[in-house]
Each structure stands twice: as C-alpha cells, then as structure tokens.
C-alpha cells in the first residue's frame, strides 16, 4: 500500500449544458479529469445551444441579453480541452450496478463511476389538444431550436400557445428575426402574474426582461391574450388556425400556419430513476422530482443531480447548481471545498428557488385542461392513444396508478417514454379516479431512456 499509486476517482457528468459545464470546470479545478457525456454534437445545452459550423450569426443575435453568458460558457468549456474526457453525440441510456451505459454510434459501453453527476436538463411540458399532431405544430422549445440552430421559422405566421416565460421569449425572438407571430395565447390569467410579483422580485433583472419582451411584442402589434382556454388546432393535413376561448369566454379563431406549444418545462429524470434515486412529489411544479439535499446530493450513493434535471430553476441556477453538485461530489470523495464557496453558492440558489415559486404561480400548469380533454383526443402521439382509452384503463380495468394504466392503455409506453404525454396522462387518470394527482404516482423511467439502434453492439 505504501507505494501504491493513488488512483484518481472517476467522475462522470451527463449533460454539457450550463449545469454540466460548470460541474466539469469545478472538478477540473480540483485536479480531477471528469468524463462528460452529451447527446448533442456540440456543448451548450438548450439555452446556449450552438449553431452548426458554417453559420455566421453573432452571439448577440442568437442569445440576446444572454450573449455574454453564452460566450463565457462556450469559451470555458472549450478551454477544458484535454483536461476532461468529452464524449459528444453519446447517449447515456442506462445506469445499472454502479455503471453508466453509454451509446456512441452503434457501440455501447459500460462506464464505472465513483461519482455520477446528472445534468440532463428538461423538455417542454405539454397538454394535448385536438390537432396537436397536425404537421406545423411544434413544441415551444422546438420552435426556438429551429430558429437558433437552423435559422428557420416553423412557419410564416406562427401562433405561440401555452404558458410560461419561454412563450414570450420565443415569440420575441421570432419577431426580432423578422417573423411576426400571429398571436401569443397564454392560458394563465394575468392576475396570477400580479400575485406572483413579490416572489418574482427575487430576480429583478429576469422580471424586467419578461416585461421587455411583452412590450416589444405589443409595440409590434402582436395579439397577446391571457387567460385563454385552447380548444383545437385546426387544418386539413396542416395547421391553418387555432380555436380558443378568450378570457371572457368568447369563442375565437386565429389563423396561422404553425403553432409553438408549451406549458413550462419538465425535468428529464429517467437516469436518476434508473440510478434508484428516491423521488418526491413537488407540489409547486406538480411533478415528481428526485429528492436531493441543497447541494444536489441524491439518495443514491455517489449520484448527484444539477440544473433543470433536478428542478426547473433556469440557466443561471443551472450554472450554480452544477458547481454545488461538483463540490458535494468532491466532499464525498474526501476533497471538500471551502465553506465560504459552498455557502455563497447555496445563498444564490436560494434566491432562485423563490423566483421559481413565482414562475410556477404566475404561469401555472393548467391541470384542468388535461383533465377535461374529450375522450377522442390523442394523448399519446407515439401510438395514437386517446384520453378515452386511458380513462377506460382507470375505470373498466381498475388501474389505480399510472404504471398500471400504462400497461393497460400503453399511454407512456411509446417511444418518447411518456415525456410528452406522462404529466397530462397522470392528470386525466387522477381526475377520472377522483384522487389528487400525486396519488396516481409517476411513470417509472425505463432503460433504454431513448430507443437504441437495432444494431447496437456492446463493448466492454
């Protein structure tokens, strides 16, 4: 033992968005060489997604007010270079027995870890409605990706519908790119935003940006309505209009050739589930989230969760929580960070938690819309399964919770693994059974977290 070389611990980070990048940088600062796994071709994650090589738009055009932060994150990650082992275009598809299973091309490899930091981000949170599978309908985040990563608009007259700060941001980004939205239709009543102001004031600059985006849209004459009830996306083979009830209950139709649809975000938590982390129902977000301490330490040994994958706190918080998770992992590996650093990071994160509560109140998840869907509406877009079939699983087949209902109806079993139907499906089931949504449980994550090619080969 005296002359045994000290073997550096293996730390793996999944995700090269703001959380993963900051975690990696912090580990490198402590003298480790983490492995960073990301499905994307380039680092940056969602908000700081990079455009492909050969595109020339400057950062200010892509990232607006966040340009400096985007450039700093990209620069800092690129500077890590050989100090990390970066595997891009690689999917982490399972966690089993202390190893992360990673697919690159058609080869899958099991990587053992001493610490695993999950910084897997989020996807759009959706409520289905009639017509949401019509060509021309995209998730709100998808509408933004088209613009940011491909310099394309999803249509010439897009309608943005749903709720949340991203609704106004994406509409604003389209307007700035020369594509005037036909309408911005927000399901949250305006009064909820007023009620949320004391909490939102925890981050004045964020609040100001929100007002700014709305003001610009108003100045450009974009129709912006709050408190709407979406009824249907209509069209013959492609989007032609959206029908909804306005805040006063009047039936209205707005024409457009595309829809961007989103109701906030949901955390991407499948890997945490496969790593056997405990989950708890978060009443603020009405989602089941992995249980962590303030630093991101999960209930599974050696597994840490950072960024939007832990809870939806946004990009700035993701950078902070990435560092905190790295510090927690370092502490558990016997290399604790200075108390002052950790204390500072925790305080910053606390302020962002207040803001999150404000957002979730001001732009509330409209559970009633899901619960009230007609029986013939497709809930599962993967396998075209209706709300009625899901309800039948509850009543005729007696499914008491979402996983049984999934087995009976297949809602949540399709190839998106419930990412786009799971939350709405739970609300439908809960309403039919007459129980609170937390009582119907959560869809359990399953490996592979995304479909693998049929030709996948394992390497050891």
């Amino acid at each position: 033992m005296a002359d045994a070389k000290v073997i550096a611990p293996t730390v793996i980070i999944v995700g090269a968005g703001p959380a993963g990048v900051r975690a990696a940088a912090r580990l490198v600062a402590a003298g480790l060489r983490p492995i960073v796994i990301d499905e994307g071709r380039m680092s940056g994650g969602q908000i700081y997604r990079r455009q492909p090589e050969g595109f020339r738009r400057p950062a200010a055009e892509l990232y607006g007010f966040e340009a400096a932060k985007a450039e700093a994150l990209h620069r800092d990650f690129d500077a890590l270079g050989p100090k990390i082992e970066y595997r891009s275009e690689s999917l982490a598809w399972n966690v089993y027995d202390g190893a992360l299973h990673v697919l690159t091309g058609e080869r899958s490899e099991a990587l053992r870890y001493d610490a695993l930091i999950l910084a897997t981000g989020a996807t759009d949170r959706l409520v289905p409605l009639p017509g949401w599978t019509l060509p021309g309908t995209y998730s709100l985040g998808g509408a933004q990706i088209a613009l940011k990563a491909q310099a394309c608009a999803i249509g010439a007259r897009p309608i943005f519908m749903g709720t949340g700060p991203l609704l106004y941001l994406v509409a604003y980004q389209y307007a700035k790119a020369g594509v005037r939205p036909a309408a911005v239709l927000d399901t949250s009543p305006y009064r909820r935003r007023i009620e949320a102001l004391p909490l939102l004031a925890a981050r004045p600059a964020m609040l100001a940006k929100g007002f700014y985006y709305s003001a610009i849209l108003a100045a450009r004459g974009v129709t912006m309505l709050t408190g709407v009830t979406p009824i249907a996306i209509e069209g013959d083979g492609q989007v032609a209009s959206v029908v909804f009830q306005d805040g006063r209950g009047r039936l209205r139709r707005i024409e457009g050739d595309a829809v961007g649809l989103g109701y906030g975000l949901r955390s991407e938590t499948q890997l945490a589930d496969l790593a056997r982390c405990d989950f708890a129902f978060d009443p603020v977000a009405r989602q089941w989230l992995p249980v962590t301490d303030v630093d991101g330490r999960s209930t599974a040994k050696g597994v840490y969760i950072a960024g939007d994958g832990a809870r939806i706190l946004g990009a700035d918080a993701a950078e902070v929580s990435g560092q905190l998770a790295a510090c927690a992992a370092l502490a558990d590996l016997g290399r604790p960070a200075a108390a002052a650093e950790v204390g500072q990071l925790r305080r910053t994160l606390g302020r962002m938690e207040r803001f999150r509560r404000g957002l979730e109140h001001g732009f509330a998840w409209p559970a009633h819309l899901a619960a009230g869907l007609a029986d013939d509406v497709l809930v599962c877009r993967c396998e075209a399964i209706t709300a009625g079939e899901l309800r039948r699983a509850a009543t005729e087949l007696g499914a008491p919770e979402v996983n049984r209902a999934k087995a009976f109806s297949r809602v949540g079993m399709g190839r998106c693994q419930g990412r786009y139907c799971g939350l709405a499906g739970a609300e439908i089931l809960a309403a039919r059974l007459g129980v609170p949504v937390e009582q119907v449980g959560r869809l359990r994550g399953q490996a592979p977290v995304k479909p693998l090619p049929m030709t996948t080969e394992a390497v050891s």
Binding site: Q46, T133, V179, Q238
Partner: protein
C-alpha cells in the same frame, strides 16, 4: 394524407442562406438543402410533412426538434433508422419517409 401541401414548405429560412448546397434524394425526389441543415430542416423547407404515423392518424412533421419525442424518424434506402431532427444532411443521402418498416428489424 389530405389537403394541399404548401409548395414553399412548412419551414422558412430567416437567415444563413449562403451556405454551400447539398443535394439529397427523398422518396426518389431530388431535394436541395444547405450544409449544416438537419434532415428535418431539409425536408420541411421543401415540403409540409416528414412521415406518416404508423397508427393511421395522418402525417407528421416532427415535434420537439431536440431528439426527445422520436416523431421524426425516417429511413435510409438500406433500412437504417434516422432521427431527422438530429441528423445532419450529407450529399448523396437517399431517404425514405413512407412505407417504412416499424418497428425496424434488421
């Protein structure tokens, strides 16, 4: 599938129009794209649909654009499944959007 297809495609390019051209073939038809396009962009700047739902409920044109929903699968001529939103175009690609086997077996 019903309804007139928008001749100009679902997606509109708003910038970055001066990239090199890439030519591919989709369902036997020549499609012009630009270097750096994803397959999804290439198809949707040239048309209004991407694929047919396997469950008979009509055409689809992708949804999440971030590799999560899996609603943009297309196939190469020799049966390899591709996720159109995350696959960059390459010159000479031959893509099939219809009559694709599902689930794919090789």
């Amino acid at each position: 599938m019903t309804g007139a297809i928008r001749a100009e495609g679902q997606f509109r390019r708003v910038a970055e129009r001066t990239r090199a051209a890439v030519n591919l073939e989709v369902d036997g038809r020549a499609v012009a794209a630009l270097e750096g396009d994803t397959l999804l962009t290439a198809l949707l700047t040239n048309g209004a649909r991407l694929r047919e739902s396997e469950f008979g409920d009509g055409a689809r044109a992708g949804f999440c654009l971030m590799g999560a929903c899996q609603d943009c699968w297309v196939w190469t001529a020799d049966g390899e499944r591709l996720r159109a939103c995350t696959t960059p175009v390459a010159s000479g690609m031959r893509i099939l959007t219809r009559g694709a086997p599902w689930p794919t077996q090789k």
